[in-house]
């Protein structure tokens, strides 16, 4: 039996409402308008992913559970009829994944085994995050301790004891930020990638986990990984970036394990990620970024906001205008171009 993989830790953000939303893409500025609406109402979005599929934008996001009803009403009032579902849930994040597909794949494997549950994914440079419905949180937490070890926490009970009192401190820290121009700790980007969209049956998440674990044999580094809601019942949509030259090798590995899944690719894309102080705990950060990108006429193909990081995927020829747009609204001390490996 394979020994558990040692990770640093995991955390669970509880008492949130998970909202899935699909909006026709005719209004390609929808995500920006949505983020602006949330910011104007001081509603924080600790988790947000967005990807497009067949000319429709799909968003997964969470808000504080107490703000769920208000959020749904605001969306309907502002945008009219959208396909929107709300579920009481929690955000589970494990770290560090070090961009290793086997760690992301193992998490998919664990969660996929919990039954045909709707799950949403996002990633940051350190963490892979999943929104889960409230009913399976305990089961998911316990199941993590089978394939993973977490620093000083040997059992789920050890970990639960260590979580008390954290939320209060975060609120005090967040209240201390007053910058006119938010600072970021760093901005990284890389090109030479392809964005792969896999549409699969929801109950095949575990098999997709196996595919990702297989990717690891070839040294792949996964820089972007999200899911988005589907228009069809019991379907899931995963988006991830691969090195452009090797994309067909990896796509064929997915097709071999999941012959009924469909794959679509966007070639010649670039990805970026930026993290900043408590970005996941402060409302309005994503709104500033998307507004600035819109003004620069940069269109994102995928977006992931979780932990304290915002990551985006866009056509490679738009990366420079995107960096300039980010510098307009954020204080950016360093910009690093990463080499694509895989």
């Amino acid at each position: 039996m394979k020994p558990p993989t040692r990770l640093g830790g995991f955390k669970i953000l509880k008492d949130v409402a998970w909202i899935s939303l699909i909006q026709p893409k005719e209004d390609y500025k929808f995500t920006t308008a949505f983020a602006n609406l949330m910011a104007s109402e001081k509603i924080n979005l600790p988790f947000l992913t967005c990807g497009d599929q067949n000319r429709a934008l799909g968003l997964n996001f969470v808000v504080d559970a107490q703000e769920a009803k208000k959020t749904a009403v605001l969306i309907e009032k502002k945008f009219g009829k959208t396909k929107l579902t709300t579920t009481k849930g929690a955000v589970l994040s494990i770290f560090p994944h070090r961009s290793k597909p086997e760690i992301i794949g193992t998490l998919l494997h664990v969660l996929g085994k919990l039954g045909n549950q709707p799950i949403a994914f996002a990633n940051s440079p350190s963490a892979i995050s999943a929104i889960l419905s409230e009913e399976i949180i305990n089961e998911a937490t316990n199941a993590l301790f089978d394939p993973f070890e977490f620093g000083p926490y040997r059992t789920p009970e050890d970990w639960k004891l260590a979580q008390k009192g954290k939320e209060k401190l975060y609120k005090e820290v967040v209240a201390s930020y007053q910058e006119k121009k938010p600072k970021v700790y760093g901005l990284e980007w890389q090109d030479g990638q392809a964005l792969i969209h896999v549409k699969l049956e929801s109950d095949h998440i575990s098999t997709m986990g196996t595919a990702l674990k297989d990717f690891a044999q070839f040294g792949l580094v996964l820089t972007f990984f999200i899911s988005r809601p589907s228009k069809e019942k019991n379907k899931g949509n995963l988006f991830f970036c691969l090195p452009e030259p090797d994309k067909y090798n990896y796509i064929s590995m997915v097709q071999k394990l999941l012959p009924e899944a469909s794959t679509v690719e966007d070639s010649s894309v670039a990805s970026f990620s930026m993290n900043g102080p408590h970005f996941g705990d402060r409302y309005g950060i994503i709104s500033e970024l998307l507004t600035s990108l819109n003004e620069a006429q940069v269109e994102l193909l995928g977006l992931s906001c979780s932990i304290h990081t915002i990551s985006g995927v866009l056509s490679a020829d738009q990366i420079q205008p995107a960096i300039e747009a980010i510098q307009k609204c954020f204080e950016v001390p360093s910009i690093i171009k990463k080499e694509t490996t895989g």
Binding site: G8, G9, S93, F95, P96, R98, S124, P125, S126, A127, G151, P152, A162, G165, K166, L169, Y170, V173, S176, Y177, K183, V184, Y185, G186, N275, G276, P277, H278, I307, H308, T309, P333, S334
Partner: protein
Amino acid sequence: MAKKYILVVDDDPDLVETVAMMLESRGFEVGRAYDGIEGEESIKERRPDLVILDIMMPRKDGYVLCAELKANEKTADIPVVLLTAVGEAVPTTTYTHADGMSTEADEYIPKPIDTDGLIEVVNGLL
């Protein structure tokens, strides 16, 4: 020659990863912990050559952990670098105890962290 081992302790896993990558790219071995108690446990498990500590953390903040390290003869000589995002509010390496005594960290770095500046501080203390 064995790599120097640096422990990074911060409750923001993305920042821990950013700092770890900066250090690993310059040849250091890096340990990771995500709050003060985890940091303390990690130091007991393996003695680091240097500790980088966030100040505002749950369970045990960086000032308190620093004070405990400096008060313990087994760990007093481990260099400690404090980090904070709220630079204007906490521009000091000094932790003042309830009895008026104080403990000094070895260096203080405000976030966002500049790679060259971090490496300069780390090399200066090792």
